[in-house]
Point group: C2
Chain length 342, copies 2
């Protein structure tokens, strides 16, 4: 068999290959392994442990020319615990492994951990371990997040129901717009180092890119109203990709409506300025770290009546097609766009 | 204050700085955070959850010119779960984050995961998640290991008792010798690519370097004989460094005897061939992944009477000095030699 390049397989293809190799179970304490936002492990009579892990690499996931290390420390935590909240659980601990080249000083590392500490306090979690080692080039950050969820509240990707209403927290596309602004100002600066970056008009989107929050508040609200979604995922790769994960794993289709997508006016204005389509930014931009979930109509009405920060964007269908209905009424197929790093 | 370089602080210094920043607790489920081989988290009435995390970087921790990817996959697992066994617990799951440059093919990645799978089956654990991303240069492997331990069996670094007998499993210095042989043959090959590497005489030490085992078997034996050590650590940085960790954290000293150090005859012969002092290899070579622990005399006698693969090398003292008594009777202070990567 011809050896394949990683580029031709892509991230999701590689995950599928690994998942298939490890589909048999060696240890009874495993409940759910590879394939959801976090693995599920037996804990006690009432609840499960959750564990999730991610790696951020300089030059691929972040650019230190405009990403302050303190914000990066914060983001390393929030983007990881987001995977615990998306199982309808709560994060409790994190470990951080750092690979550092010798260009980093102690002050730089302390800045990074200041951001980690702010996130730990804000989300009521502890840094409990990790490793620091040198790397030949740049900064590598690997985080594992640990949490727990009551057994009856565990929410998976694969359990969406037909006619479920698809909801998303917050707004979409803003983080991607922030990234484009930062990249634009960087290239302006590289061309003419005397130019000062012009960022004040874009602070909302830049903050979302550099220092995104995890939606613990939504999980608390769901708990307060005793609502257990039928399915949930956090939006890291982009609405389209993550919606397709829910659909494929639940063996259903989705129909969502362009006019319903929650996009801030400031995101639309900046997208226009950058000659980008705001809907494309919302669908494929990624790094929103909002929660995408599905509930039945009764639960949706309860959330709506209580002013929770969510928007319904469509529903699950029994046919397996994933479609967007455009503002003009055209039906357009959604396409997954995982990170294509390789 | 002048900013310090990481090189001047060293790995252990940096860990201390981070540990101090995170010494207050945000979440009640944390039992023990940074500072031992694994963090301890509340689980159920009878047992604790353990988590440990490590990062391996190409060019720093391994060299793919002589480290087959399958062995590297195996080693990535065993060196991490070793930290769970050293808490007197059992490993149950791992997550692996990989950073890959585009020079790696699918076949290469599959070789790596073949080794991971062999280790998973051998140690009765499951790969439950992780992340694959691209890296700009080389291979980065970040592993988290999860396990559990009965509350009454949890064994820490900081609880050694005065007069405890210090024991070590297996033998020491062999992995370091294996590394030296591999490095020698690599440089011969680089000078003259037509030379075939001469490795058959050194297979024991090379295997220990490329494919080390974790000492789950010893934890099972301790359990079988109902022996709970007073302190334990796994030897990753070298006997001297890891013994100093036990001493400092237990607020005691140690006296160990050169003549008692378990060093294989083949290790001594190869060390001599390489003009290395076998005792130095045993003290500071590192990567042995043997268990270093302390027990009272009664428990030690029980282990000795039952032919368990351990050696007593000395004892804990109330004065806080860490000394080696040489074969000639001289007393020599032990020095920590953590990895100095930066």
């Amino acid at each position: 068999m011809k050896d394949k390049s990683l580029e031709s397989i892509g991230e999701f293809g590689l995950i599928d290959i690994i998942k298939k190799k490890f589909n048999s179970k060696n240890n009874d304490s495993l409940i759910i392994g590879i394939g959801d936002d976090a693995a599920v492990i037996s804990k006690s009579k009432d609840d499960y442990f959750l564990i999730s892990s991610d790696m951020l690499v300089e030059g691929i996931h972040f650019d230190l020319t405009y990403h302050p290390l303190k914000h990066l420390g914060y983001k390393s935590v929030t983007t990881n615990i987001s995977d615990i909240y998306s199982m309808n659980g709560f994060a409790n601990q994190i470990t951080i492994n750092l690979g550092l080249s010798n260009r980093f000083s102690l002050n730089a590392i302390e800045e990074f951990y200041k951001g980690v500490k702010i996130a730990c306090e804000e989300y009521n979690i502890d840094l409990v371990g990790g490793d620091t080692t040198s790397s030949k080039t740049g900064l590598i950050i690997s985080v594992s997040a640990i949490g727990n969820v009551l057994k009856n509240k565990l929410t998976l990707r694969k359990t969406a129901k037909k006619n479920d209403i698809i909801c998303v927290s917050g707004d979409l596309g803003r983080s991607y717009i922030g990234l484009q602004i930062l990249e634009r100002e960087k290239s302006v600066f590289l061309t003419n180092p005397e130019m000062q970056p012009e960022l004040s008009n874009y602070s909302d989107s830049i903050e979302k890119q550099l220092k995104p929050k995890a939606r613990k508040d939504l999980i608390e609200k769901l708990s307060e109203f005793n609502i257990i979604p039928n399915s949930m995922i956090d939006i890291s790769d982009g609405l389209a990709s993550d919606l397709i994960h829910l659909s494929v794993q639940s063996n259903l289709g989705v129909k969502i409506y362009e006019e319903k997508l929650p996009i801030l006016k400031s995101t639309i204005l900046t997208a226009n300025e950058l000659n980008l389509n705001p809907t494309t930014c919302a669908l494929n931009g990624g790094e929103d770290y909002e929660l995408l979930f599905s509930v039945n109509e009764k639960d949706y009405n309860m959330l709506k009546d209580n002013d929770i920060d969510i928007t319904s964007i469509g529903y699950f269908t029994s046919n397996k097609k994933c479609n967007l209905v455009s503002k003009e009424g055209a039906t357009i197929g959604l396409k997954a766009q995982g990170w294509k790093h390789f």
